[in-house]
Amino acid sequence: MDLSALGSCLISPSCVITQSTSGLIIGLLLFLVAAGVSLIFGVLKVVNFAHGAFYMLGAYFAYSAYQLSGSYLIAVLAGGIGVAIFGVLFERLLISRVYGSPVLMQILVCYAMILILDDVVKIIWGADFLSFGMPPAFQQLPILFAGGVVPVFYLFLIVITLIIAALLGLLITKTRYGKIVRAAAVNPSMVSALGINTGVVYASVFMLGGLLAGLAGGLAAPVRSLTAGMGTSIIIESFIVTVIGGMGSVAGALVGSILIGLVRSFGSIGFPLFTEGLMFVMMAVVLVLKPSGLFGKEGR
């Protein structure tokens, strides 16, 4: 524990800027994954443990697309769209068969999926870790701002993830699709009786969740090493985020993600050996004080 270091960081603008951007970048990438987890839980009441594997697939799809095309844009889109399609297949072929089963049975299916996907990745892309490489456009010196260091690539990621977050927010709250999705979360059979195909709604939610996770995987690929099993740590953090933010709340996922990002970045200064534990402490504190999470609705 090093509280004096934390204190001196908090009064130095350069430290605050550097750590805040690093917190934001960790948090916002996490948000893309966590938002999908939260959405899928909110609408389908499925705790999608396989979502980390979605993120992994996104990174690998992006890797292969980048190898073939050399374009980072195409790579990210390939990651997003590829996983979106995979999400639909996963929902239609597997998860839809255990709707109405106990939550734990659904988790069992997700767990089986993780086992299979990790192995498949190993077979297709090999057991060795892969490195994507920084796209040439971002091979630039970081920007200095009030003494703080902000890499160009991270600035790009922050902007793009914020745009995605805003679009997602608009989609969920303002569009007819979003209204239907939220209605299906509350009362699917009524939605169906109004002439809306809930099967399509469910599949589309998995598609959206897959798209977000795939985009996250693709966007992060230049700065993460790709290995089978890389989804594990992000899924645990995503669950912390969704629990802190409130299961089912996209806004909560955003706040929770940024919170976790900041806890990590400032925590690594104040509590270098206990940053991981800090996240769990935070989750426990939030759950004890507000059991349904910051943005969650009070359950009975």
Binding site: R176, K179, I180, R182, A183, V186, N187, S189, M190, V191, S192, A193, L194, G195, I196, N197, T198, G199
Partner: protein, 241 residues
């Protein structure tokens, strides 16, 4: 008065419905023709709701068939049946509590099976004026009566050719029940085809033209509602009023 033709809008033919292993409906047949308001009467647990659910696709029959505008629907999902033109208003209202009144209506917006687009937000508010000032309010905060109006309006937004109404008077204060009755009369006068499930025959009297009585999952009586009103035997045996 209503324009009743002989064209059947929707029907159930000899359907058997099961919940799990227990059979709820036995060989039930019912047909509602264009412009008709049919009352489906019976005690609680007699099978009224189940009949409506079977027609709406929410409780698929094991045997027999259901039709909407002549097309077989017994194997179809609820949304397909809704799109074929059959609107369903559930007994326990089931508004989307965290959506605004307006959003509740907009979610259900669609054209009818033949491209009908009579019902719009404006027309719904015209017919249900008490909802308009509440359009921004969360539906969960409405009173029971307002919620009942909203669910009827919501179903109408889908421009259905036929309407299934499950006990719209249930659990409401007498004053509200009177308002619901007035609304249903209005719909009848517009020529909307309705199957109205009710326990309360008196409520149906000024609304429905025909009545079907169901008991223990079987249809036991069919006639005009006036004939039923006069039939003390049927009333005593199956409605106990």
């Amino acid at each position: 008065m209503t324009t009743t033709t002989n064209r059947t809008i929707f029907s159930a033919e000899n359907i058997d419905v099961f919940y799990g292993t227990s059979q709820i409906l036995f060989d039930v047949s019912i047909a509602v023709s264009e412009g008709q308001t049919m009352a489906l009467l019976g005690r609680n647990g007699a099978g009224k709701s189940t009949t409506l659910k079977a027609l709406a696709g929410l409780a698929p029959p094991k045997r027999g068939k259901t039709t909407v505008l002549g097309t077989e629907m017994q194997r179809r999902k609820p949304h397909v049946i809704a799109r074929a033109g059959l609107g369903y208003v559930p007994e326990d209202r089931q508004v989307f509590p965290e959506h605004s009144v307006e959003d509740n209506l907009l979610i259900a917006e669609k054209k009818g099976p033949n491209g009908e687009d009579y019902w719009t937000l404006a027309r719904i508010f015209e017919m249900l004026p008490m909802l308009e000032p509440l359009k921004g309010r969360m539906a969960g905060r409405l009173s029971g009566g307002e919620q009942q109006m909203l669910t009827i309006g919501r179903t109408l937004m889908g421009n259905p050719v036929g309407l299934l109404l499950d006990e719209p008077s249930e659990g409401l204060a007498p004053v509200i029940v009177q308002q619901i009755g007035a609304l249903l009369r209005k719909l009848r006068d517009m020529g909307v085809t309705v199957l109205l499930a009710e326990q309360n025959m008196h409520f149906c009297l000024g609304i429905a033209s025909h009545a079907t009585v169901i008991d223990k999952g079987e249809i036991v009586y069919r006639d005009t509602i006036e004939a039923l009103r006069a039939n003390e035997d049927v009333k005593a045996r199956y409605l106990a009023l």
